[in-house]
């Protein structure tokens, strides 16, 4: 146990370095790429003087090192991510406003993907080469070959337009519904807190298609991973001995599943971090109004502080998730240590 805490401490020491790298990358990625936001803001017909004026106002006329210094200083002394070139609102406010929506979508979507994918993988490996395996592999092949935005559109077309089970893809709740009082910012949670059951139902109804889209699309990862790991585990000496001791099949599958636990948890962590940007297209299709949708918008408009802020926040979030992931893997498997 002692050496494991030591390993964790070592892992934590790496964090400040990684944070610095993320901060620098966020700046570099945005400012080193070509494109002048002043031109976008000024429009095609603006005079050169006007563009120069805007540049001075935005601060993009200064040399790069100076801008980097200003950005880092602002970050640490004022704890500010700057203000948007367009809305003039603080980036931090823009992000915190949208973050809970994306979090809700990602958590629900991943939950669905893990449950559905692991179920497919388990059935597939337990009934290897029999019909449940064929069925599950067909499902995986289909869901992974349809791009997520197209799957979203397909679901909208079939389930909203033809069958009419889902509401129109207009966001978190209906256009005429009054949003719940903002407590956490996450609509479903807020309706729960407000005990507004009617609105909760509406919110779930609206969340259905985007969540199913993400769940179906990402379930293939979990299905393939768990099938591969479980197939091996179900053929292992460990499982044979468990069966030879007379353990029930349910328990035997449980033994095997423990082998699959680490890769599945690792996948959850990686996808969780990746989906904050990766769900952007699904958010756009369903007018979800989350972080990803906002970031795409900012990129199209060259809103430098917004893009910087987005990269920074998602980068730090990824660091945090990976750290948690490592801690969870250590906690789950007594054999793992970072020696």
């Amino acid at each position: 146990m002692r050496y494991r805490t030591g390993a964790i401490a070592k892992r934590l020491l790496f964090i400040p370095v990684a944070v610095f790298i993320v901060i620098t990358l966020a700046f570099g990625l945005v400012n080193l790429t070509p494109g002048d936001p002043a031109l976008v803001i000024a429009g095609d017909l603006a005079s050169d003087e006007h563009v120069a004026e805007i540049r001075a106002e935005l601060g993009t006329d200064k040399p790069l090192p100076q801008r980097y210094a200003a950005y880092v200083r602002e970050l640490f002394t004022e704890r500010s991510l700057g203000t948007s070139f367009f809305t003039k609102r603080p980036i931090w406010d823009e992000i915190t406003q949208r973050f809970p929506d994306t979090l809700e979508l990602v958590v629900l979507g991943l939950l669905g993907a893990v449950l559905y994918g692991s179920l497919l993988g388990t059935l597939s490996s337990y009934f290897r080469r029999r019909w449940p395996d064929t069925l599950s592999r067909t499902s995986v092949t289909i869901t992974q070959s349809i791009p997520d935005f197209f799957m979203g559109l397909l679901l909208i077309y079939v389930i909203f337009y033809i069958i009419g089970w889902a509401p129109a893809p207009v966001g978190r709740i209906g256009l005429l519904d009054r949003p719940p009082d903002r407590v956490t910012g996450a609509v479903i949670l807020d309706t729960l807190i407000a005990r507004d059951w009617g609105l909760l139902k509406t919110a779930f109804h609206h969340a259905m298609l985007p969540v199913v889209t993400l769940a179906l699309f990402y379930s293939s990862h979990f299905a393939k991973t768990s099938r591969a790991v479980l197939s091996r585990a179900l053929n292992s000496d460990q499982v044979e001995f468990a069966r030879a001791c007379g353990l029930s099949e349910l328990r035997v599958v449980g033994y095997a599943f423990r082998e699959a636990r680490t890769p599945v948890v690792t996948y959850i962590g990686i996808l969780f971090a990746a989906l904050f940007g990766g769900a952007a297209i699904v958010e756009t299709v369903f007018a979800w109004g989350g972080l990803g949708q906002w970031a795409i918008d900012a990129m199209l408009k060259l809103d430098v502080p917004a893009i910087q802020g987005f990269i920074l926040v998602v980068g730090l979030l990824t660091l945090l998730v990976y750290l948690l992931l490592d801690l969870i893997v250590v906690a789950l498997d007594p054999r793992v240590s970072y020696e």
Partner: protein, 331 residues
């Protein structure tokens, strides 16, 4: 149909004409081809043969754990009169662990790597009935003590990877025998352990079997182990028992040429190492005559090539599947 006619017997385990095939779309492997033997109460029987002779498949068929696509195509495995072949999986599960204990080859592979040893004992005991945590704990402690674990408390708290090879195998034996099975099936239980520990583990298994009057089927490819630990031996070749009998007699006066070759291959001090000639047939297509025909140095009888020999008694309790009495010329 034969079930009703079968006479009552004192044997604990009775395997009759067992056949196992591994059938895939392209080919069929005949792994076990009509194996019959019995194990009496309190008896330790050795099962020897080279790799690929069907030892493992026979053992897996007995405990009902043949891996797909292997399956029993004919024959019966009677434990205390109950045929285990075709038994409902739930009933078979109740027998495994409780009536038949299985000691596998590789202890580290067998133990669950992420569960504490105590939890593994609990799972095994609760698979066959109820039990309070404290009771199970004391049963497990007693059992670990019985297999010679010095600090059972600590082992119970720990994980498999913290054990040495010999200790891990002791824990496996404890798990296999915790429910006091009447029959223990040990599949090469000392492969992968170093020599001094092999001896200790085999001594331990024998002592545990003897004190409780258990029967044991000890699978090995080591004739020396059979000589020391078994009372009777079955020699397997190409999925058949080619010779069976009391250990002393079979090892001193082998009646089957394969047994003879096996014994000649045992290394002896000061002598050149002799390897058995040839290899086991592929078992994809069974030859019409004796399976050992190609490797046999005594083949002379015309029946050898065309007719498979069946076991016949060549001495008291000593059976061999040969057409010819190879000692006939000298006696």
């Amino acid at each position: 149909m034969t079930a009703a006619a079968a006479p009552p017997t004192a044997s604990l385990l009775e395997v009759t004409d067992l056949r196992v095939q591994f059938r895939s779309r392209r080919r069929t492997v005949h792994a076990v081809n009509g194996v019959s033997f019995a194990i009496d109460e309190g008896e330790t029987v050795g099962l020897v043969g080279e790799t690929g002779c069907g030892k493992s498949a026979t053992v897996r068929a007995i405990i009902g754990l043949l891996k797909s696509p292997g399956r029993v195509t004919a024959g019966s495995v009677r434990l205390e009169g109950t045929d285990l072949v075709g038994l409902h999986p739930r009933q078979l599960r109740q027998i495994r662990g409780a009536s038949i204990g299985f000691v596998p080859q590789n202890p580290f592979g067998a133990l669950n790597p992420v569960l504490r040893i105590e939890r593994q004992f609990r799972n095994v005991i609760r698979a066959h009935g109820r039990g309070r945590r404290a009771e199970i704990r004391s049963t497990a402690l007693d059992m670990l003590d019985a297999v010679g674990i010095a600090d059972p408390e600590r082992v119970l708290r720990g994980y498999a990877h913290e054990l040495s090879g010999g200790m891990a195998q002791r824990v496996v034996i404890a798990l296999a025998m915790v429910l006091n099975p009447r029959l223990v099936v040990a599949d090469e239980p000392t492969t992968g352990l170093d020599l001094t520990i092999q001896r200790q583990i085999l001594d331990l298994i024998r002592d545990l079997a003897e004190t409780e009057g258990r029967s044991m089927l000890l699978v090995t490819h080591d004739v020396g182990v059979v000589a020391q630990y078994c009372s009777r031996v079955l020699v397997m070749y190409a999925g058949q028992v080619v010779e069976a009998g009391p250990v002393r007699r079979v090892l001193t006066e082998p009646a089957h040429p394969y047994t003879e070759a096996l014994l000649a291959a045992v290394p002896r001090r000061g002598e050149r190492l002799v390897g058995a000639q040839g290899t086991v047939p592929t078992l994809l297509e069974l030859p019409p005559g004796c399976f050992y025909y190609d490797r046999c140095q005594y083949r002379s009888d015309p029946r050898c090539a065309t007719e498979a020999p069946s076991l016949r008694e060549v001495g008291p309790g000593h059976w061999a599947a040969v057409h010819y009495d190879k000692g006939a010329g000298s006696t």
